[in-house]
């Protein structure tokens, strides 16, 4: 398959009061159509920066992103983003939130009835058909994230960008959402870039795991191909030697090769509040 998305020679330098800070240095990644790629790395390594550059929310200092032979210069619905904290408009119902996106993207190509069908179809896809007329404050965190995914899917993006989509959810809800996502992925076969700090999540969902080195001047350290057969089953894989091997490869990278050494004197050490087993903070 041909390359759909080409991230080439991306450097990102942020100006700070103390002088320029190089966040990313020489990030190169080619993604094929229908591939599910996850980005994993310690916090502060610039995973989100990579995603934001692909989304067009940031502009790379040097280098760039090419999607479908066109350079990315601004955000757009063909690179839909699922944000970590759902970012649904709180004054709109689930239906209206998705409708806003659908109307904006398909205003010319779909009739009123088609728009309604498409909104409902996408909400049903994420199993939110029963609560589509509820507002975000009336539904649970997992349900909000489902609506966020439905909104992104409804734009029929060329690439679906997910920024720690399940990071804010509890472990059980997260597992449930991962299963849902695999189910949807089976059906739609989208091209996906997902940021995660959960090793199991990365191995379970991805075709490739892109492991990033620690910042500053972070870059891609290793890329791991996940050749586990699909559809994948969480319980079956738990005993699978291949799965265990992949999992330990990622853990080795994170805790041996890229062990995050933070001297106690450094006050800039970022500590994530929740740390679970098999999870990188």
């Amino acid at each position: 398959m041909s390359v759909l998305l080409d991230i080439s020679h991306v450097d990102m330098v942020f100006p700070t009061p103390k002088g320029p800070f190089t966040a990313l240095k020489g990030v190169d990644l080619k993604i094929k159509k229908g591939e599910f790629v996850s980005l994993i790395g310690h916090s502060g390594c610039g995973k989100s920066t990579v995603l934001n550059i692909v989304a067009g929310l940031y502009q790379a200092t040097t280098g760039g992103v090419i999607l479908n032979d066109k350079e990315v210069t601004e955000p757009g619905p063909e690179r839909a983003v699922v944000f970590q904290n759902h970012s649904l408009l709180p004054w709109l119902t689930a239906y209206e939130n998705v409708e806003l996106a659908v109307k904006q993207v398909f205003n010319k190509s779909k009739s009123k009835a088609e728009i309604k069908d498409w909104v409902e179809h996408n909400l049903q896809l994420v199993h939110m058909g029963h609560a589509m007329h509820k507002r975000p404050d009336e539904i649970s965190g997992g349900m909000k994230q489902r609506v966020g995914i439905a909104r992104a899917l409804s734009m029929q993006p060329d690439v679906l960008l997910m920024d720690e989509p399940f990071g804010a959810l509890d472990a059980l809800t997260r597992a449930h959402m991962q299963d849902s996502l695999m189910e949807i992925q089976n059906e739609l076969n989208n091209t996906v870039i997902m940021i995660t700090h959960d090793v199991d999540e990365a191995v379970l969902l991805s075709d490739r795991i892109v492991m990033m080195t620690n910042g500053p001047a972070a870059t891609i350290g290793e890329i791991l191909d996940v050749t586990l057969e699909r559809p994948r089953d969480r319980l079956g894989l738990a005993e699978d030697p291949e799965y265990t091997h992949l999992r330990s490869e990622v853990l080795k990278f994170l805790y041996e090769k890229q062990r995050k050494v933070e001297p106690l004197s450094r006050k800039t050490a970022k500590v994530k509040p929740q740390q679970k087993e098999g999870e990188v903070a």
Binding site: A55, L57, P75, G76, F83, S87, P90, Q104, M155
Partner: protein, 330 residues
């Protein structure tokens, strides 16, 4: 309550906890405020008896109540007089038309003095016109300032300097400008109304501008990113994201400024001689009869009640319109 539903009829010797709870809550919400008001009235009447002014004793609650009744009966009498005036005029015109079919009847307006109720109406119309004019100017301006950092930096010093100015300082300027620009022989609305209204607008403007701008500027960054990913055009961004997101703070600003507006209006009406409650207070003060103080006190009570009601109405509107129910509790 529950004992009444049992098959064997028995009367509770003790109050059930639920009844007790109901009673306590009733005590808290009805009896205690009632006691408070009663104590206030008592203190007021005792204090009033001990204050002598050149217009007689300071009015106690009973004197004020009398004047309320007097104001009401004056209002009724005036309305009857007005009705009688129009009746007489109609009869007279009918007679003249009967004699001379070519005669075109002249209808003259009743020119009696405004009653207290009319003055309340005038005050309410003035404050609401000023308030809505301010909203019309302030909300678009606030949105523009909230969206553009450059505009914010440009406008901020002006807002910060004019915000603490008492609108009454503007009043002489407003009076002169209105007199100069609004010099028509047949005015649609009286000048005094315009002057009071513009003064109210000036005092409503700043809280509304600031709150709207803050609301728009502090929209969640993720929501702005959603708008960017969707490539919403500027106008649609305002309509779909910026405006709804800042509705809670817009309404906080509106409630603040309506409260201030009502306070300022009374003073503005005194100075501008707009026939509202402010003029009523001023006229009674100038009148200096033995009833004047009691009538002013009656006006004070009415002003307080209306101010309270305006705030409650704004709160209800805010609760109805705002998606963020918590913001309405502030």
């Amino acid at each position: 309550m529950s004992s009444a539903t049992t098959t064997k009829l028995s009367f509770p010797t003790e109050l059930t906890p639920k009844v007790k709870a109901n009673l306590t809550s009733a005590a808290r919400h009805i009896i205690i405020p009632f006691v408070g008001i009663l104590a206030f009235l008592l203190l007021w009447s005792v204090a009033a008896q001990n204050i002598d002014t050149s217009l007689g004793k300071f009015p106690g609650p009973s004197a004020v109540w009398e004047q309320f009744q007097a104001l009401h009966s004056e209002h009724k009498a005036s309305r009857e007089k007005e009705a009688a005036f129009y009746e007489r005029q109609k009869e007279r015109n009918a007679k003249r038309v009967a004699i001379d079919p070519d005669y075109i009847p002249k209808i003259r307006d009743y020119t009696g003095k405004e009653t207290f109720v009319d003055q309340i109406g005038t005050s309410l119309i003035t404050v609401m016109s000023g308030f809505f004019l301010a909203a019309l100017l302030a909300i678009p301006l606030g949105i523009a300032i909230g969206l553009s950092k450059t505009l914010n930096i440009a406008v901020n010093p002006i807002v910060q300097i004019f915000k603490p100015v008492s609108p009454l300082a503007w009043l002489p300027l407003v009076t002169m400008v209105v007199s100069a620009l609004y010099a028509t022989p047949d005015p649609v609305v009286p000048k005094s109304f315009l002057v009071s209204m513009i003064t109210v607008t000036l005092c409503c403007l700043w809280p509304m501008v600031i709150n709207t701008a803050v609301g728009v500027a502090s929209i969640d960054k993720d929501l702005v990113n959603v708008s960017r990913v969707l490539r919403l055009p500027a106008l649609k961004h305002v309509q779909k994201i910026a405006l709804p997101a800042s509705v809670p703070s817009i309404f906080t600003g509106m409630r603040l400024s309506l409260g201030v507006a009502w306070m300022v209006l009374i003073a503005a009406e005194m100075l501008a001689q707009n026939p509202g409650l402010g003029k009523f207070v001023w006229d009674e003060f100038q009148n200096g009869s033995s009833n004047s103080l009691a009538r002013i006190m009656a006006a004070v009570v009415v002003i307080g009640f209306i101010g309270f009601l305006l705030d409650r109405i704004m709160l209800q509107v805010q609760r109805y319109v705002s998606w963020d129910k918590a913001s309405a509790a502030r």
